[in-house]
């Protein structure tokens, strides 16, 4: 069936980058994968509170887990734009941002390891994860604070050939299933200069699974480390050099969340359009009401603007251009578009929109995290202000 997504047919200049013959083919593969392997099971996974490991293996088999990772480290090649296409299509074909978060957690857990380039760590963690055999997580946030990364308190103290780790991490995506956790720890003095990244692959204690508003199929955990001994070889990059690694990867994480936002909006628009065309009130389909059709236009307009700008910034990142402020704009704009669209989508579905049976109900709950995770809307604004020199 041809896709409802007008974007795949739109012929903007940036859009053309996302519609090369290979990317069209990738979109078709992702759509099939989602329709076959995801959609029939998503409700069960939402109830179970996590994704099965088999799904990771299935996604690895078609090369989806490895997109954006070089073949030398076990990836499938491709770049950020290929990842954008994949993320868009998973959601637009009936998946969800929660599914993306749980299935592609390695997208935030592995890049630092790949960046640092230690072949031992690549063999132990990157390859098996991209093959779907291991699950990784990224642990930065702590109960005492998430936005202020430089203030983190989990410590790692060198003792012979090991680090001894103590501390608590919370809100960790895939934390309950994780075989290893790329963990931000304090190895030095206060502030960002004392932060390192360490792969903790043993002694990960799941304090509890956290129950959430949305993203139900993505397990989220509070983790604790008590005198956990980790080999010093698990250090990622230089000691006390972790902060820069974390910040660099935030760019990709944030643009990906922007993609999740506008793709969720697009999906909700598609679902709503189908609904208002068939739902009749007072003898006419809803779509025949000017109020409704103009509302749809506003949903489409905000979605399209978010998509076009976010894709442009993704292309800038892929091209290696400096665009920290633009990433902040993209995330905040896409989240705002998504918030508007999911709300209107539920509204236009009427009472049905409030029921668990309605797909838009799930997107409505899932969407709320997008302005909080990966840097809150406020933190994005603050970062952009500093970048642009709007502070004095």
């Amino acid at each position: 069936m041809s896709t409802l997504d007008p974007a795949s047919e739109s012929s903007g200049i940036t859009a053309d980058l996302f519609a090369t013959p290979e990317r069209k083919e990738l979109r078709a593969t992702v759509r099939k994968f989602t329709e076959r392997e995801v959609v029939p099971h998503l409700d069960d996974w939402e109830r179970a509170g996590e994704l099965p490991r088999d799904l990771h293996r299935a996604a690895a088999k078609v090369g989806l887990l490895g997109i954006g990772f070089a073949e030398e480290v076990g990836g499938s090649g491709g770049d950020l734009l290929d990842s954008v296409v994949m993320t868009e299509e998973i959601i637009q074909a009936g998946g969800s941002s929660g599914l993306v978060a749980g299935l592609f957690t390695h997208g935030i857990a592995l890049p630092h390891i790949v960046d640092a380039g230690d072949p031992g760590l690549v063999d132990r963690f990157v390859r098996p994860t991209l093959a779907g055999d291991l699950i990784g997580a990224l642990a930065i946030t702590e109960p005492d604070g998430g936005s202020d990364v430089a203030a983190l308190r989990t410590t790692a103290v060198r003792d012979g050939d090991d680090y001894v780790v103590n501390g608590t991490k919370t809100f960790i995506t895939s934390g309950a299933r994780a075989d290893f956790v790329t963990t931000a720890v304090r190895t030095g003095g206060p502030g960002y200069g004392g932060v390192s990244l360490l792969v903790v692959d043993r002694g990960i204690e799941v304090v509890r699974r956290l129950e959430k508003m949305g993203w139900h199929c993505s397990d989220t955990a509070e983790l604790s480390f008590v005198d956990t001994r980790v080999p010093a070889a698990n250090l990622v990059g230089p000691e006390n050099g972790g902060f820069a690694l974390v910040m660099r990867q935030f760019q990709v994480e944030r643009i990906t969340m922007a993609v999740e936002a506008y793709a969720t909006a697009q999906r909700c628009l598609d679902l709503t359009l189908a609904y208002v065309r068939t739902r009749e009130t007072f003898g006419k389909p809803l779509v025949k009401r000017q109020l409704v059709s103009h509302k749809l236009v506003e949903m489409a307009q905000r979605t399209e603007l978010a998509r076009t700008y976010t894709r442009e910034v993704a292309a800038m990142i892929a091209d290696g251009r400096e665009c920290v402020a633009q990433v902040c704009f993209a995330k905040n704009a896409a989240v705002a578009a998504c918030d508007f669209v999911v709300d209107e989508a539920v509204q236009l579905h009427g009472g049905f929109g409030y029921l668990r049976d309605a797909e838009v109900e799930r997107h409505y709950r899932d969407a709320r995290i997008l302005g909080i995770g990966g840097g809150t809307t406020e933190v994005m604004a603050e970062l952009a202000a500093r970048r642009l020199g709007y502070t004095s």
Partner: protein
Amino acid sequence: MNIVVLVKQVPDTWSERKLTDADHTLDRESADAVLDEINERAVEEALLLKEAHGGEVTVIAMGPGRATDAIRKALSMGADKAVHVSDDALHGSDVIATAKVLAKAIGTVEGFDLVIAGNEATDGRAGAIPAILAEILGLPQVTQLRKVTVEGTTVKGERETEEGVAHLEASLPAIVSVTEKINEPRYPSFKGIMAAKKKPVTTLTVADLGVDAGEVGLGGAWSGVIEASPKPPRSAGQRIDDEGVGGSKIAEYLVGQKLI
């Protein structure tokens, strides 16, 4: 084992399919073009045989420029190379002309052991190309198969019909056609998609194949479409309210339609 798969690009069954007013050939602009699903299955079967016996899979398509999309799909799935026969002279070709051209194109593939086609294209629906090809090439045909195996130099197959299942075999080289029951086609992996870019596609014209342009195309067709009109919209149907005798009213209606 060297396998040739015949793949056709067809208008997507889900999009509106029309004939042009000018010459009653397919209006290619009006519909999305896709690799015929039956041919995805044919490619899948070739790949399975290759995985079991080794060798090479070549896809052949006859069609206009944009048939490269269908070819790319087959290459992304894992076929090794392709032959694309593309020539304006082919516009409006009938079944016989199509078969003549495909036969010549198959001849360019050195040492082929097996040709796999779909049993019937979703647009033309002649269901005749495999048989005509067998005739032209002088090869055995094993058609309408739901299962294919190769043992040594023999191809064996199961043909399912309303009468039952027939077990057929022929010696290689041979032509087989497969039905939609044959398998579930894989979808291209990301690596496959990227690798397809680098696989060889040979584009040939009618002249390259040594076919006389006068024998193909609308001019060379043995039959022609004189008139075409869209099928009339479905009428509203007749509603029967069940007031205890609904069953017999429906039976009456069906008798009236000579259906029972």
